[in-house]
């Protein structure tokens, strides 16, 4: 069994997710098409095997949440928390993503071709995120590790309370959050951006690494500091 199709207009999501968790890994399933998602929440959450999933249409909250190994494409837009807590694999949103995209992702690559809402990459823990459009306010809030490439603009308080995650922004930044600062792009940064854009796919060929700014933590809030009491 190589390829399968599930029509969510006909089959309950529970049945689809159960199959993807319990039967598909042992049956050699390599491709799954999910049609008529109609904004259903929690499509293809908690996968842990190498499979290509295509969700044809718009997905609701947490599409591809906690993903391991799977490569999941949403041809439409995705709701809140797409690819949240992803550990590995890939989630690719062709449209827009709502709030908290890639929240707390430990690994893998999240690609969003359109814009992402508030708090994109919040609490990022090692995953990579590439956004073709702009990101909303408080993106990369308390991001601990991983990389974000933003081809559009960033909203308010970008990278507030950043730890070791690094952000690359092509457009304007409305404001930086506490302890985030713009730093010079080194050769390694250019190589990183080039690699992430290439990994994101052909839609990102138009961007040049040298057009991006690097945002990282000034690390001034890593320890209690009485003179920065309003920034805690």
């Amino acid at each position: 069994m190589d390829s399968l199709k599930f029509d969510l207009a006909e089959i309950p999501l529970r049945t689809v997710n159960t199959f993807l968790h319990q039967e598909a890994p042992g049956q050699g399933v390599r491709k799954v098409l999910i049609t008529n998602p109609d904004g259903a929440h929690n499509i293809a959450v908690g996968l842990d095997f190498p499979v290509e999933i295509e969700i044809v249409g718009h997905a609701g909250y947490y599409a591809g949440g906690m993903n391991k190994q799977a490569s999941i494409t949403v041809t439409g837009s995705a709701g809140t928390g797409v690819a949240e807590n992803m550990m590995s694999g890939r989630v690719h949103v062709k449209g827009f993503a709502s709030n908290g995209a890639g929240a707390s992702a430990h690994g893998g690559l999240l690609v969003i071709e359109g814009d992402a809402g508030l708090r994109c990459g919040i609490s990022l823990k090692g995953g990579d995120i590439v956004v073709g459009g702009s990101v909303g306010s408080f993106s990369a809030f308390m991001a601990q590790a991983g990389r974000m490439v933003i081809c559009g603009d960033a909203g308010d308080a970008l990278g507030d309370s950043l730890y070791e995650a690094v952000l690359y922004v092509k457009g304007s930044i409305k404001s930086l959050g506490a302890d985030a600062r713009i730093e010079p792009m080194a050769e390694a940064d250019l190589a990183t951006v080039k690699a992430l854009l290439a990994a994101a796919g052909p839609a990102f060929d138009q961007y040049a690494p040298q057009d991006f700014k690097r945002v990282a933590s000034a690390r001034s809030l890593y320890h209690w500091n009485a003179d920065a009491n309003q920034e805690y």
Partner: protein, 449 residues
């Protein structure tokens, strides 16, 4: 003027404690951070007493007749509810705040008496999974160490909205406890002063929470119970919202609940006492006709068997204990036991500016008895086996007291204890718990005044 004639009238508003607070604030420019729970005097379970059986109720033989303590949690939606031998569970406490030895001790003791233990901020250690037959895995705002593999390994998942010691606040772990192992599990730089988020990263309100809970159910194929833990504040509304969001079990943590580190102003000034919270929580479940369908766990200052019995009589299905558990392990003891010998810990308490019995310096990582530490030398002061033995004894004692009280009230099952078995000794307790003042039928605030 002679010494005896000096004025010693202490100001009520500016007493020594307040003067000390102001001086510290002026010297350091930062609020005080400490461990443990509220130290102020609060109405608590001691303010209630049981009406034992007499002519109007029939007692059970205390030493012979059976009294069941079996407790089942998570019956609403989960395919595999949690089955416990006793209704006394171990509250969520993190590896990081506690040593790995302590986490293992908690698991060993919990397993020995047939109850559950709980992870904390920072994820699940292999030691605690191995030692705990029943392990509840917390999903916290920080999501430190949170991963799908451990979700699958867990027996239930507890979505933590808040904690009684600091409702509305995030976790905190100061740099001296962020060891290489702790930092690695949390994906943080070693030695930083970690300040966790107070809000979850991927949902913002009860409607979102319902979808988040559904995600956790979907990814675990609806097998595991989902707990929702709230710090006690607007408990009536919060419990209702947790139930509407789809919780199988609601955990309500009153303001006496402990912490490994947070601001003193949080510990002492935010939240409501457990006594008030438990009644609000039960009222909410009864209002929704969900009593018995969604289980209630109460925590925050539950210390003794009578406390457990009173919480159950008030309507809780189980309790969770944190600080009492640590004290059973040796917290605040004046000595520690290592290599077969007792050693005095007084000098180490002294170095922290305190003494045994008064210590709340968990945040420093310099725990004199090796419990709240990541220091390689200090953590050797408590072995898993030694800690587990004492904790097992403590839990066993609580359970014996619980069943003794239940039998005295004529109950064959501790879950049959009821509010009608209780009266209050103070007006405050009567009003908060909504049980009559002893010797009267008067419940302040209920009915006509």
């Amino acid at each position: 003027m002679s010494e005896k004639n000096l004025s010693r009238e202490e100001s009520y508003s500016y007493d020594r404690k307040t003067i000390d607070y102001i001086r510290n604030a002026a010297a350091h420019g930062l609020y005080e951070i400490r461990g443990m729970g509220a130290k102020r005097k609060l109405p608590n379970f001691d303010d209630l007493v049981f009406l034992g059986a007499s002519l109007s109720r029939y007692a059970l033989e205390g030493y012979r007749e059976k009294c069941s303590t079996k407790t089942i949690l998570g019956t609403r939606y989960a395919k595999k509810p949690i089955e416990l031998e006793i209704p006394i569970t171990i509250a969520g406490m993190s590896f990081g705040s506690l040593s790995a030895n302590v986490k293992e001790a908690l698991g060993l003791a919990a397993t020995a008496v047939g109850t559950s233990t709980t992870t904390g901020d920072g994820g699940m250690t292999p030691e605690e999974r191995l030692s705990s037959k029943t392990l509840i895995y917390q999903c916290l705002p920080s999501r430190y160490g949170f991963n799908p593999d451990d979700v699958r390994k867990a027996d239930a998942i507890e979505v933590v909205i808040g904690q009684g010691a600091k409702p509305g606040g995030g976790g905190m772990l100061l740099g001296q406890k962020v060891s290489a192992r702790v930092a690695g599990m949390r994906t943080l730089p070693e030695g930083i002063d970690q300040r966790s988020a107070c809000r979850h990263p991927d949902w913002t309100g009860p409607d979102d929470l319902a979808i988040k809970i559904q995600e956790l159910r979907e990814m675990t194929d609806w097998e595991k119970p989902i707990y929702v833990k709230v710090g006690a504040t607007r408990t009536f509304n919060d419990v209702k919202l947790a139930v509407h969001s789809g919780a199988d079990v609601v955990v309500v943590d009153g303001m006496q609940g402990g912490t490994a580190a947070t601001q003193t102003c949080f510990i002492e000034h935010i939240g409501i006492p457990t006594l008030a919270a438990v009644r609000q929580a039960v009222d909410a479940l009864e209002d929704l006709d969900m009593k018995g369908k969604v289980q209630l766990i109460v925590s925050g200052g539950v210390r003794t068997g009578p406390d457990v019995a009173k919480a159950l009589a008030m309507g809780a299905d189980a309790v969770a204990i944190g600080q009492g558990v640590l004290i059973a392990l040796g917290c605040n003891h004046d000595s520690y036991f290592q290599n077969g010998e007792h050693y005095p810990a007084c000098a180490d308490y002294s170095a922290l500016g305190t003494t045994a019995g008064f210590c709340h310096h968990c945040h420093t990582g310099k725990c004199p008895v090796g419990i709240t530490t990541q220091d390689e030398i200090l953590e050797q002061r408590l072995t898993p086996e030694f800690g587990a033995k004492h904790l097992k004894n403590y839990l066993q004692t609580l359970n014996m007291e619980l069943t003794t009280i239940a039998r005295a009230c004529g109950k064959q099952n501790v879950h049959h204890l009821e509010r009608e078995d209780l009266v209050a000794l103070t007006l405050e307790a009567a009003a908060m718990a909504k049980v009559p003042l002893a010797g009267t039928s008067w419940i302040p605030g209920v009915g006509n005044i």
